[in-house]
Symmetry: C2
């Protein structure tokens, strides 16, 4: 049973480049894209879905999110908007609530957030641990995440938990030893918050130890790099061949050169700068240097509690001077590159049939209509 | 038949001030609020609706929107984000498309936008004409708007149309004469784009003539004031007792003093500054001077095509340093003040039962979760 999708005023395939087709159609067979082209050339199919003149884009690939947690930090957000500084220290609040929560509480919140993302067009999401920070709590957070996505990331090295204050190296030994052993079976990736400027995060040597241990355990590498200062994170990520260096808010010329020469994607998270009232990353500098740029939400209860990739696209255009086309590519194909996936982030033949429908005549409306829920994932009968 | 609404973790009534009640309930009778209080004190009722621990706020009052138009200007938006300047000149594109559209085309777009707003928590919306700019087209735009809202505003003086280029005074004579006569039966308000800095808009004398004629025809007054420069609009609005001066992006000390001493609400439209990449109004200066501040979307196809009051709240907090409480008040009670309405914008006993439900434990999430569609208007059976 295949399905012909018609009534597509504008189709973005990302194949090749943005790959825009007007008055398009698309055939989905067994969960994959089987044919793409002009509506007039469409082949017959078993079923037909008409979108009534809307836009179709690849489902968003949100390659950076922290969705396994409990508790509410809206009061901390309010205080920060009144002038309190963000340094990552508030993560401890969420750690306490997460440790105290039952599996079902964590699972319920996680499922609700993934559903909320899907309702906003996100069809692939990476989910990190990092609010457990004990062997058992990190492992259970990853086990819960793996119920919903294959893109699970072990982030035991999110912050140094309070009980290890002043003993960061001891905590790193725990992370790289028994915690990694317990978590690796549930994770595809390992990540570390490399930020010497924060008393709560990890310096370059500690980050290297975490990444090396993760790699030895068979995990792919990702790095929280250069969020609060121009630290060693980006160059470490490139040196070790990490799939992505995330944040990239404070970069030196050497950082940009390293990214341009390497295979590491620069993942920008402008929702964080919005919600912490911080300066935005310099996306144009990266693009002009030839760096592959991804956009992601960083959805988390502390520094950025948006789940909307469309909002991140609007910020990328307004605040980072990306074009609507660049921003959409980075939110789809860019995210796929950051996860080293070739089956998502585009709608070429053979891709997963992860379609997002924009209720508008053009993908440009994703930036042109900020804050308006005009995009959702298309649910096709028989999808898997 | 009355209805008891329960399961309200947090209720904002705006009565008095923000009027927050935790673990609250509310009785709706014949479309009005009949009782408000703690859940434990709730009286019996004929029907019951349980919100499962969500937040209830007054439905948003969007006191500034341009929703009667045809055409698409997303390409102009894209060009502006790449550096083209906004001076109001692009309005002509929408005027041509609107004149060419049938009533049903205009009505379809208008209804879709009002429904989109309601789905995002807006229960009162003001709708302006201003894309017809002929006697017949302005009158028909207002007639269509009046099908959906009592808050209709005659904005024949939106820009000088191309066919009157260089003859602005002749166009003002048309606006204040036959156009006003044709439009007044369908309008509650008259408005003018007072902006000597734009070649397309109206200077102080022209604006005064439009407002005086509208007042003589029985209409209330509103002014597009001080958007692109510190012109005469704000002080003219206060002098003539206008309900609202809208934009207020460029203010002198004398403008702030005038607003503080008068009865005119300052309506801020931060979505415009977002979508035109312009500096934001100084909300704190106005609040500290004691000015009543409203927030509205300015939803329109040129300078700001958002319909989301929640997005405007998030911008107000991030960019204008309003607190989440101030921003919510301005988006509800402030909007009501800008429309001189006492029956909306609050949930005191006797108010219209215009309830917006926030899928979160606190109203703070409206700013804490930017871009996420967590708020919608509550549809109660028997509502009218």
């Amino acid at each position: 049973m295949n399905t012909l999708v018609t009534g597509i005023a504008e189709l973005v395939t990302n194949d090749p480049s943005l790959g825009v087709v007007h008055d398009a159609a698309l055939v989905v067979d067994d969960g994959s894209v089987a044919w793409v082209g002009s509506a007039g050339d469409a082949p017959p199919a078993d079923r037909r879905t008409d979108l009534g003149g809307r836009t179709v884009v690849p489902g968003f690939v949100d390659s950076h999110a922290h969705l396994v947690f409990a508790g509410d930090r809206s009061a901390e957000f309010e205080a920060r908007m009144s002038g309190a500084r963000y340094d990552g220290g508030g993560i401890g609040t969420t750690v306490a609530a997460t440790r105290a929560a039952t599996d079902d509480e964590l699972r319920g919140r996680l499922r609700a957030l993934v559903a909320e993302m899907r309702a906003q067009g996100t069809t692939t999401v990476e989910v990190k641990s990092g609010y457990g920070l004990t062997v058992d709590d990190e492992a259970r957070c990853l086990r819960l995440a793996a119920e919903l996505t294959p893109e699970t990331t072990f982030l035991g090295a999110h912050v140094v938990p309070a009980e290890y204050a002043g003993r960061a190296d001891e905590y790193v030994a725990l992370v790289t030893g028994p915690m990694l052993a317990a978590c690796a079976p549930h994770a595809r990736w390992v990540d570390v918050f490399c930020e010497p400027a924060s008393a709560h995060a990890f310096d370059g040597d500690q980050a290297r130890a975490v990444l090396a241990a993760g790699r030895d355990a068979g995990l792919g590498l990702r790095v929280h790099a250069n969020q609060l200062s121009a630290g060693p994170g980006v160059q470490l990520a490139v040196e070790l061949g990490a799939a992505s260096a995330d944040h990239c808010t404070h970069l030196t010329a050497a950082d940009v050169d390293a990214l341009a020469a390497g295979t590491t994607v620069a993942t920008l998270l402008p929702g964080v700068e919005f919600s912490t009232r911080s300066p935005y990353p310099d996306a144009r500098r990266l693009l002009e240097a030839g760096v592959t740029v991804a956009l992601a939400t960083d959805c988390n209860p502390g520094s950025c509690f948006t789940s909307s990739m469309a909002f991140c696209i609007a910020l990328a255009v307004r605040e980072m001077r990306m074009t609507p086309a660049e921003a959409l590519w980075s939110a789809t194909a860019g995210g796929a590159a950051a996860l080293r996936r070739t089956d998502v982030g585009h709608l070429g033949v053979g891709a997963r049939a992860d379609l997002a429908v924009v209720d508008a005549p053009s993908f440009r409306h994703l930036a042109y209509r900020p804050g308006v829920p005009i995009v959702h994932a298309l649910e096709l009968a028989g999808r898997h």
